[in-house]
């Protein structure tokens, strides 16, 4: 029998037809939409005079562009308000489930999907957002699409896609103290580079991955796109099933047992061939931080920023331009650099586990005076738990400012912008120029590292301050 990877199994089960010397017609189980990339797709749909074919497979929430204060009031920014209003209008018209601002399950689309149990193993999931890869943590094929494709899914529940090549990244061994799944993924990206996954769909495997919670797995799959990969997935196991059990949209009763039996078949066959494989040892991973303007520019926090040795041409120019933007020197240590902002949030690390780990660290301490510290829960559910567990109180006592759920300073489409020239250490996923506001300088790190920096005010190895 043909040996298949997990990716093959799910992919092949969703191909409606293959176009000769062209893409596959690929069926989509779940389509998440938000206010920024869907209104134009709806508008085009209306211009064509067609509607949404499967509203029951579509789930909406406004997240990218929403304010994180006064969410119960009218949105002040006119354009943001229009996008949210359009989303509401279209959802109502086409009968699409909307988790609106202020409702019990409002939040970042990639946080609420798993939380509600909508995201399940074996599914195909798309959204007009590249971090749709997050849902791969459940053993699903999940990836971001453009607005034209959003329109295709509305119209036909299919898109035209060529099957990606397959890469497996195996991480075995045990992680050291103070090292989290964010460090694993930043480490992998630094090794493979910001473009090393282009053309591939990834599978993460190995004992270090298997030992992770669902939240931690989501952090890893989330950042697959930061290597240029289409997406990344992890085979479902007991951790996955336990997470999903009892969730609102998860199967119940007899149906649950039947479905779990199917989910258990969702793994790569022994001996299946990948186009590319990488192996890493968890023991080599340290707390990571980025020093440049793409996520591949990461180092172990106690390593020196690389020098230009061995670089030439546009590669060297781009590297130096990036350092200049960040205000760092090649070959220097990053430890001790003074920071201005910390941002804990986003679909990478805005889940309850992340907030717990920050709260645990800062308990009884105070943030440094030079730091403005923002905590933005990934969803209302996360916010609620953070209150119930007393985390909000701890964080507020430490001088952190809690905001309401949304993408917030991850992409700074709303008012949560880092001022030009200021440094922000963020738990999010992108450190591009201007990502967190024009001129803002972003360093990516784990929630734990971010917490350590919030307290000391400077770049600090979290292992040193336990």
């Amino acid at each position: 029998m043909e040996k298949k990877t997990l990716f093959d199994k799910i992919w092949d089960a969703h191909v409606v037809r293959s176009v000769t010397d062209g893409p596959d017609v690929f069926f989509i189980d779940k389509h998440f939409i938000h206010e920024v990339t869907s209104p134009v797709a709806f508008l085009n749909l209306e211009k064509r005079g067609i509607g949404v074919l499967h509203p029951e497979r579509t789930i909406a929430t406004p997240d990218h562009n929403v304010p994180t204060v006064d969410q119960d009031k009218t949105i002040k920014d006119k354009l943001s308000r229009m996008q949210v209003e359009k989303l509401r209008e279209y959802c109502k018209k086409y009968n699409i489930e909307l988790h609106d601002l202020g409702s019990a399950h409002h939040g970042i689309v990639h946080v609420i999907g798993p939380e509600l149990g909508i995201t399940q193993p074996g599914m195909t999931i798309v959204c007009g957002d590249s971090h749709t890869s997050t849902h791969g943590a459940f053993g699903a094929i999940a990836f971001g699409i453009g607005t034209s494709e959003v329109e295709m899914v509305f119209a036909t529940q299919c898109i035209m896609q060529s099957k990606a090549k397959k890469m497996r990244i195996t991480v075995d061994g045990e992680l050291g103290k103070g090292i989290t799944s964010k460090d694993i993924i930043l480490y992998i990206i630094a090794k493979i580079s910001a473009s090393g996954g282009t053309g591939y769909f990834l599978e993460y495997a190995g004992s270090a991955i298997e030992s992770l919670s669902m939240e931690a797995r989501m952090t890893i799959c989330n950042m697959s796109i930061e290597m240029g990969a289409r997406g990344g997935l992890i085979a479902p196991d007991e951790t996955t099933f336990n997470y999903l059990k009892g969730k609102q949209y998860a199967p119940k009763g007899e149906e649950w047992d039947k479905t779990v039996a199917y989910w258990k078949t969702l793994k790569t066959d022994e001996g299946a061939i990948f186009d590319k494989e990488y192996h890493f040892d968890a023991a080599d991973i340290a707390p990571m931080i980025t020093y440049g303007t793409n996520p591949g520019m990461g180092i172990k926090i106690n390593d020196l920023i690389p020098t230009t040795a061995g670089m030439e041409g546009s590669n060297k120019t781009s590297f130096l331009k990036s350092l200049e933007y960040m205000g760092f020197e090649a070959g220097e240590s990053i430890l001790g650099k003074k920071m201005d902002y910390v941002f804990v949030g986003s679909c990478t690390n805005g889940r309850i586990e992340d907030i717990r780990s920050v709260a645990e660290f800062v308990k009884g301490k105070r943030k440094a005076d030079n730091i403005t510290a923002w905590i933005v829960p990934g969803s209302r559910e996360v916010e609620k738990l953070a209150h119930e567990e007393g985390l909000v109180k701890i964080l507020e006592e430490a001088g952190f400012e809690l905001r309401q759920p949304g993408c917030s300073a991850c992409l700074a489409m709303n008012d949560d912008k880092i001022p030009s020239g200021k440094y922000a250490v963020s738990t999010s996923n992108r450190n591009f120029e201007g990502r967190q506001g024009p001129g803002a300088r972003t360093l990516l790190a784990s929630p734990l590292t971010v917490a350590a920096i919030a307290v000391t005010g400077r770049i600090t190895d979290p292992r040193e301050v336990f």
């Binding site: 359009k86 529940q157 201007g434």
Partner: protein, 196 residues
């Protein structure tokens, strides 16, 4: 959204040698607030093109009158980052019909093909040849022949072929998009759903 048919394109070239240009640079997030697809070209490379006061930055290539054309010659790993199709709308709206690079990010490339901007992947060596030729003579012309799948530096005749699958090629040549195709096979899709 249908687009203009792509025939053989002969044009001068705008060179942008920076590597890893992500979609946040092509169009920053704060310009994604429109609910209609209009005016994105004005904000193409916004923060590289204009300073905070909105004055043009003269060292940026789009502000340099020496260079113009429908072909953008870009550095390695162009279009990484977010899936925002707005990045390609901005390029198209500005007047680019073709982007040439030795390496494209995946989603970006897909988005290009979906809205009628041809992504042409060439070897790093040929990219160097083109960059050098354009900087030596900004009037130099490049021809992109979609039928023969070739890109040629007209002054020297140096040429390379590029990949595009025949389905996408027909689409580009005819200005079709995937939705037309999908709508035509609606019954087959319905059968597939019924069998699930």
């Amino acid at each position: 959204m249908a687009y203009d048919k792509f025939n053989t394109l002969r044009s001068t070239v705008v060179p942008l040698s920076a590597e890893n240009v992500d979609t946040d640079q092509i169009i920053p997030a704060r310009f994604l607030k429109a609910t209609e697809r209009v005016g994105f070209g004005d904000n193409l490379f916004r923060d590289w093109r204009y300073d905070v006061e909105g004055n043009p930055k003269h060292d940026f290539v789009l502000n340099d009158p020496t260079y113009s054309g429908k072909i953008l010659l870009a550095g390695k790993n162009f279009g990484s980052g977010s899936s925002r199709e707005h990045a390609v709308w901005a390029l198209y709206d500005y007047g680019f019909r073709c982007v040439v690079s030795s390496f494209f990010a995946d989603i970006f490339k897909n988005n290009c093909l979906n809205i009628g901007v041809l992504p042409v992947t060439i070897s790093p060596e040929f990219a160097d040849v083109l960059f050098n030729a354009v900087s030596a003579d900004p009037e130099t012309e490049v021809e992109v022949d979609i039928d023969r799948q070739t890109i040629t530096l007209l002054s020297t005749g140096q040429s390379e072929s590029f990949d595009i699958n025949s389905y996408k090629k027909e689409n580009m040549k005819n200005g079709f998009d995937d939705i037309d195709y999908l709508l035509n096979i609606k019954d087959e899709i319905a059968e597939f759903v019924a069998g699930k």
